[in-house]
Amino acid sequence: MAGEAVEVGQFVALARSALVNEPYLSNAAIIGELTKFTLARSGHTYFTLTDNKGSIDCVQFGGNDSFISQDIKEGMKLIAIGGIDVYVKTGRMQFKSLRIQPVKSIGELEKTRQELIQKWREDGTMERPRKTAPLIPKNLHIITGADSAALADMERLIADRWPNFSYTVIPVLVQGNEAPKQIVRAINYAQENADLIIVGRGGGSPEDLWSFNLESVCQAIIESKVPVVSAVGHESDYMVSDMIADIRASTPSNAIERVIPIKDDLVAMIAQAEDRLDFAIDKLFSRRNEIISNLILRLRAAPMRGISNAKLGQSKISSRMNSAVERFFMIQKNRHIGFDSILNSTNPTRVLERGYSMAVDKDGNPITSIVGLKQGDPLTVVLKDGEVQTEVKS
């Protein structure tokens, strides 16, 4: 039997190697209450984590600084990240911690949250001007849990509203210790290309959602160059990220409803705007045309009225002149007629007809006196039906 026995040291070494080669044990995060701890002079920290089912001694080499800076106290809930180890000399199993992190209670977390809100109220961050989302995002980045229900909801809704809408998904852890860091990194990465960022997750316990109450995550949202939509949990969940983001959506689906327009609505709206524009222009032109054609009519009539007035004036004056001249000639004619009758009544031949005769000289001039007549002068006596030649006897 003695020949089959293994030396203690070898046995413990064997046990150690079996334990440390087990992945689940060698690389783990354990959570428990800190029941006691010692900050050794060497700088190493020795502590014990306990819960109602078990307990384990832990060591963190050079861990003192970390314990002091995080203000670790007995009775706190701690997460220790590291792996199992066995101290061969004593055969004692212990957890070799690489990093410790206190787990704050919701009460403590809430206190920190209120302090953060207070700080940003006072420094004006809460009231800073917000960026507005583009009407149609050309490069939307969605930061959320990979394969999450929230992502599925958002993708379905996008496809409904705008088929074949193009966007980018950046998958991140949205809860747990790694979540804040990943979310911050994703926001910083997205803003290089995106014109709009949605960051969020579906509903969960307050602890699950807590990343969106953390200063680091919120600071990244505040500092983003492009507008950020905060879309966390259900309608009733109100995160610090909701308060400081450019746009607050009550849920991830609500975020999509707020930033992705319904394509058909937009198309209809544009068509309607086009119609209205056409109508307005038509109306404008027809009114102008009406005014112009009215002016044309008036313009056409105007000079013609002037001309017809002038014509009328001319014909009036012309007829006045004609009648004046006609009257003149009528008056003259009437005078002629008067003269004529006088002349007729005094015509010597009329006298001859009544039985008188008339003596004329050789030139035909009537002789009306004896003065100038000598004996032997020839005389012509004119009678009603002819002339006779005679001479002066005495």
């Binding site: 044309i296 000079p303 013609m304 001309i307 004036g313 001319q314 004056i317 006045r320 002149m321 003149f328």
Partner: protein, 61 residues
């Protein structure tokens, strides 16, 4: 002589003729002058009318 001046002269002539008291020579002289003025005024008016029609065709229609 402008159209207005011609019409004014024509008015004077007609008024003188209407008043009577002019002798034959004067009457004939005035009538001749009046007729000439009337003819030139009518010509001017016809031309103006033609011009308006032309403008209508060119610019308005």
């Amino acid at each position: 002589m402008s159209y207005a001046e011609a019409m004014k002269r024509l008015e004077e002539i007609v008024a003188a003729l209407e008043a009577g008291g002019t002798d034959l020579d004067e009457t004939l002289k005035l009538f001749e002058e009046g007729s000439k003025l009337l003819k030139s005024c009518q010509k001017e008016l016809t031309e103006a009318e033609g011009k308006v029609e032309k403008l209508r065709l060119e610019d308005v229609d």
